[in-house]
């Protein structure tokens, strides 16, 4: 299967205070393919959120290029580019613009001056994708944080975008909503072939990604599948199955000395007949 590149970042550098020499981001290069789930991890202040803001054109890079669907992001093209890329931020409360669920989803369509019938169709479709159709007339005070984030995602999906950026979008949710939202995202990736770029602190969430980029003080420190990355970076807190594997290894259990996904770990545990 041929995959097309939807996001191309080339030697991107940025600093907030132009008087300082030190960059928040320096010489970042990366790509995201269509239908790929890419996680960006890194400690606080490593420039993850700055990268997200650059990608959607909220701030402008000092040097380097961002190409989204073959359009170079600049001050004039950003309005067009934003039809292809959407972002969900951390606080569900501050992203709800409309007075009801369906109003909010329609907001980005209204901005395109889209005729009512098409808006209605797209809103229905988008709400369906995130499983919020039955709550379309609810107002934000009746929704949980997870539901609000789903509405925010639907608002982006209504534009039929190629890339969804999540800037720590799951941080403020309870564990159950977080799991539900992750399922929604996995379905979107599978069914709609949407690329997901998720910025996160949660290694279990990152482990779901096809590829992980590790940022450290504004530079790409490492990049690869979760298997490659968590083996190559022993300082990184690994996702739960890997943590378990390392603990078992310490107790001299006869477990293969290689990275395991959750499913592999479950399979191994079932077969191993561990005795205490």
């Amino acid at each position: 299967m041929m995959s097309t590149t939807v996001v191309e970042v080339e030697n991107l550098s940025f600093r907030y205070d132009k008087r300082l020499k030190e960059n928040i981001l320096s010489n970042i290069s990366m790509t995201v393919d269509q239908g790929e789930w890419l996680a960006v991890i890194g400690p606080n202040g490593s420039g993850k959120s700055t990268l997200a803001q650059l990608l959607v054109g909220l701030i402008e890079a000092d040097s380097g290029k961002i190409r989204i669907k073959n359009t170079v992001m600049d001050d004039t093209s950003k309005w067009k580019v934003r039809r292809h890329i959407g972002i969900v931020f951390q606080n569900p409360e501050n992203q709800f613009i409309g007075t009801t669920v369906q109003d909010d989803v329609a907001f980005s369509l209204e901005n395109l001056n889209m005729p009512y019938d098409e808006m209605k169709f797209r809103v229905d479709q988008a709400l369906d994708l995130v499983g919020m159709s039955s709550l379309r007339h609810h107002d934000p005070s009746q929704l949980s944080g997870g539901q609000k984030q789903r509405v925010a995602i639907a608002g982006i999906l209504a534009l039929k975008p190629s890339i969804l950026v999540l800037d720590e979008a799951l941080v403020m949710l309870d564990p159950k909503s977080r799991r539900e939202l992750l399922t929604v995202l996995q379905n979107l990736k599978r069914k709609e072939n949407i690329s997901i770029l998720s910025i996160t602190h949660d290694m279990n969430e990152a482990a779901l990604a096809d590829r992980i980029i590790l940022l450290e003080s504004g530079k790409v420190k490492n990049c690869g599948t979760s298997e490659q990355l968590f083996v190559a970076e022993p300082d990184l807190e690994p996702p739960f199955p890997e943590l378990l594997r390392r603990e078992l290894l310490k107790r001299n259990r006869n477990i293969p000395n290689e990275y395991m996904t959750e499913e592999e770990m479950v399979n191994w545990l079932c077969k191993s007949r561990l005795t205490v």
């Binding site: 803001q53 309005w79 005070s141």
Partner: protein
């Protein structure tokens, strides 16, 4: 906060609830003007019948409407009082030099009192039976001609709708901040006025900061979702003018005719 009726919405499904907000707004504003046609007891009785009918149609208890009058009652009584004291004519009951209580004064005072109460009742009917967002849309639609005069009608109504949407959040947040300050030993509503004012500072400061942060987040979200103020937007919330809306305006016209017939003609007498 719960005592304030004016500006609150009571969900329901009455005939009045289902009217188009534009019809309700036009009818209510028109009613205020039409009130000035009333000048004798027949017209006032008729207007009271009309007001009562509208209140009954709204399916909200009369007590709610009375509560809506309460915060304004002193202002109304003061105006009525002035009217009574400074209107002369007819039989005089009390005479204190320039201040007299006369028959005309009493009647006029009573009429003004009725006028105030009816204005409050009718405007409360509108706000109680219309969602704030529908009112905003209605106003937006009615003010649309002003766009030709470069009045940013759409921007204003978007601002209004966003503010309305954040009122519950702000109330929640105020409660949280107050609780947090209480936990640190602040006592609200005690001590001298100056002291009470001072306890409000540590509430407003955090609220201000969080509102600014919120506004910044919102602005980012709106920008990324493609909002540009100078670009034409379509609207997802559609208002639909129906037969009953036309009927309601016809009723207002009939009310005008009835008042014109019933009012005592000042000319020639």
């Amino acid at each position: 906060m719960n005592k304030l009726i004016l500006g609150r919405y009571f969900p329901g499904d009455s005939w009045i609830h289902r009217l188009d907000p534009r019809a309700k707004l036009v009818a209510a504003i028109y009613f205020i003007f039409v009130l000035f046609l009333a000048n004798n007891w027949q017209t006032y009785v008729f207007l009271w019948l009309f007001t009562t009918a509208v209140i009954l149609l709204s399916n909200i208890s009369i007590r709610t409407y009375l509560r809506g009058v309460r915060p304004l009652i002193w202002l109304i009584l003061f105006t009525v009082f002035l009217q009574v004291l400074f209107t002369a004519g007819g039989e005089i009951y009390v005479d204190l030099g320039p201040i007299t209580i006369s028959k005309f004064g009493l009647i006029n005072g009573f009429y003004i009192f009725c006028r105030f109460i009816m204005i409050i009742f009718i405007s409360t009917v509108v706000t109680l039976t219309t969602k704030p967002i529908d009112l905003t849309d209605g106003m937006n639609a009615l003010l649309r001609p002003l766009r030709k005069l470069k009045v940013p009608v759409d921007e204003l109504s978007l601002m209004l709708s966003i503010s309305l949407r954040f009122i519950p959040n702000l109330l929640d947040e105020t409660q949280k901040v107050m609780d947090a300050q209480r936990a640190r030993g602040t006592e609200f509503g005690e001590g001298s006025l100056v002291k009470q004012m001072k306890t409000l500072v540590p509430i407003f400061l955090p609220l201000f900061v969080s509102s600014l942060n919120r506004a910044e987040d919102m602005a980012n979200v709106m920008e990324v979702r493609g909002y540009q103020s100078d670009v034409k937007r379509s609207t997802f919330r559609q208002l639909s003018w129906q037969q009953k809306d036309t009927i309601s305006l016809l009723v207002m016209a009939m009310l005008t005719v009835a008042l014109l017939v019933l009012r005592s003609n000042g000319f020639g007498h």
